[in-house]
Structure formats: structure tokens, C-alpha cells
Symmetry: C2
């Protein structure tokens, strides 16, 4: 019984590390890469090799920079009275797409998760508090996942920031737009009830 | 509204060329690559850059070689009286896993598809007929997809090979193992009836 060439197996092992990619999908990817022409493979390989050098996180806010300056930190165009705390740099783009927010961001990089050793120290609270003070932030918006880890992190930050007299809000919980009640889970429905808004 | 850094967009465009990968998945892959360490990224990039140089198809059978010799063509260990025709080099591994076949392979590389300009010329029939003659093949087994293109290709090859008096068989059509009749489509069920076997 003949097996894949070892160099193909190595590539499959790398592809399997991508999120949601199992053995079968990784194999399919590898065989499809065999059909790419040399130029495409070279450019793809280059993009991976130089990724972290070319796409760096801003030391101030943690968002990704396109070049040497961080557009997310550009206070000439953005409102420094509002600071939105997000889990990962990717979340900033989703929020930008709404067109609803013109303040600054702060990327935590991780959420509290005692099981994975993510304690409050991982959140680097001193840096966050320094920023809030220096920018003169008036309201902090917590925009974290609505999960166990996200909720624990929101609660922790709320308490710490409120100690310093900072106004803290978080994203509303409720029915997703276009959802039918049949398909909404109990927890979401219960949040939508307790957070009902005047109509 | 801020957008992804341009180098990240380039990488996302490459990732989107992988089979079954849409915009959202490509973005997820790109952000996950940002979290890989440098060593992992370097090895992954290397594996892609050197893929086609290190993993080459055998000029004789079209299967992938692990090194300089083709194990699929090793007639000291495999039966040259049997030749199995497959669509892509990947199919050989699936057949090897069954442990049922010890003959040689012949990779077509494509199937007939007039709409995509895949005419009989694309199948390189002269090379196939040469191999059959030189090896002294007694039976050709067609192991192509059970699709419109696969069936058209099987039919074409059957007619061409039978002209030269070669025995041609093809994989059985019928119920997949462990399938329940409720979930089997009409076409499969109809094939299972007409191909029913003595019990
Ligand atoms: Zn920044
Ligand atoms: Zn070979």
C-alpha cells in the first residue's frame, strides 16, 4: 500500500494547522496546490514568509498597521473620547464595516480563560489604564464575544475600570437582525426580554 | 472605514484559490497565520515554494513520486497484467488504501469535458496504448468518477481500447456500504437494481 510522498505529507501537516481544516481538507488543499503554476506558488509562499514582517500590530492599540503608521490611532480623524475594547485585531474591521463607530480601539489579544492559563495578567491592564488617562477617554465600550470567556473578561474590566471612575458600556444583547423566534436559542431570547427597549 | 492591510489582502486572495475556500474562510486563515510563530511560517512557506520541485509526477504513469523512482511503476512488486485508469494522481492513494489492487496505474490528468475544451486529445491516448502494448496488459480497469464527465470518458476509452481487442472493465455501481435505502438517490438505486448480483 503506497503512501503520499513525504514532502506532500509535511505540507499536509502544515495545512492541517489552519482553523477548521481536517485531514481530508488538508489533502485536498495540497493536491490543488500541485496544480497551481510556479508563479502563483512563489507569490503565495512569499506572502506567508513575509507576513509577520509586513503586517505588524500597532504597539499602542494592537490593531494591524498598513505601512508604518497606525490609521486606527489617527486622532486627527477619530474621536479619542471613545475607546472600544476588542478581543482580536480582526474585530476592528467588523466594527469599521458597520460605519457606526469613529472612536479608538484597544485590542486585548486574549480573553480570560483560567483553563488555558489566561489570567488577568494576560490582559495588560496597566497599559489600558495608561491609554485611557493619556487620551482622556470618556467612555469605554466593551465589544467582546458573548461567550463564557468574553463575559468573564467584560465583567472583570468593568469592575476594574469603574474603580477609576470610567464610564463603561457594552454591546447590546438581543435578537440578531432577520432572525425568527423559532431559531433563536433560549439564552438569546431571555437576554432580548430582559433588555427590551421602549418602542 | 478602515480596511485590511494590503499585504494581508494579497495573502487572502491566494488563500481564496484553495478549493472550497470563500472570502470569510480565507480571512480566518490569514488571521490565524498571523498567530503562527516564525519557524512554522517559514517551514510552511518553504513547503509551498519547493512543492512542485520535490513532488513530481512519474512520466510513465502520472502518479506522484517519493524521490527519484516511481513506486507505482515497480513491476517487481506489482502486476503489469492489470492497468487501472484514474482521473488524478490522488485517486491512486484511495485505491491503495483498499488493499484490493496490485496492478499498475495510469493517470489521465483530466476527464472529457467539451464545455471546458477537454476533447479526446487531452487524454493522450497514444501514450496509453503504447503502455498497454509494452507492458502486455491483459485487463484495463476504468476507475473514473461516476459523473457526466467520468462516464463520457469511460465510454470513450472503452470503445477505443476494445477496438484494439483489450479487455476493459469498470468499477461496480451500486449502494454504498452502510447506506440506508431512504438516503440513496434514485440513480444509484436504479444502478444497483440493473447491476444486481447473484446471492
Ligand atoms: Zn494603533
Ligand atoms: Zn510511475
Amino acid at each position: 500500500m503506497l503512501k503520499y510522498p513525504k514532502d506532500l505529507l509535511t505540507l499536509i501537516a502544515h495545512l492541517k494547522k489552519l482553523p477548521g481544516v481536517g485531514k481530508k481538507t488538508a489533502e485536498r488543499f495540497a493536491f490543488s496546490l500541485l496544480e497551481w503554476d510556479n508563479k502563483e506558488l512563489f507569490e503565495f509562499s512569499e506572502g506567508i514568509a513575509t507576513l509577520k514582517e509586513r503586517v505588524q500590530a500597532c504597539a499602542e492599540c494592537g490593531c494591524l498597521m498598513d505601512g508604518v503608521q497606525c490609521s486606527f490611532c489617527d486622532t486627527s480623524r477619530r474621536d479619542k473620547a471613545l475607546l472600544c475594547i476588542i478581543g482580536s485585531s480582526r474585530d476592528a474591521y467588523a466594527i469599521e464595516e458597520t460605519g457606526n463607530f469613529r472612536g479608538l480601539y484597544h485590542v486585548l489579544g486574549t480573553l480570560l480563560s483560567p483553563l488555558e492559563g489566561k489570567t488577568p495578567d494576560s490582559l495588560n491592564l496597566p497599559h489600558l489604564e495608561d491609554r485611557i488617562k493619556q487620551l482622556g477617554v470618556e467612555e469605554v465600550i466593551l465589544a467582546l464575544d458573548s461567550t463564557l470567556e468574553g463575559d468573564a473578561t467584560s465583567l472583570y474590566l468593568k469592575e476594574e475600570l469603574q474603580k477609576n471612575g470610567i464610564e463603561v458600556s457594552r454591546l447590546a444583547l438581543g435578537l440578531p437582525l432577520g432572525s425568527s423566534l423559532d431559531f433563536v436559542d433560549e439564552g438569546t431570547l431571555s437576554q432580548a426580554f430582559s433588555g427590551r427597549q421602549k418602542f
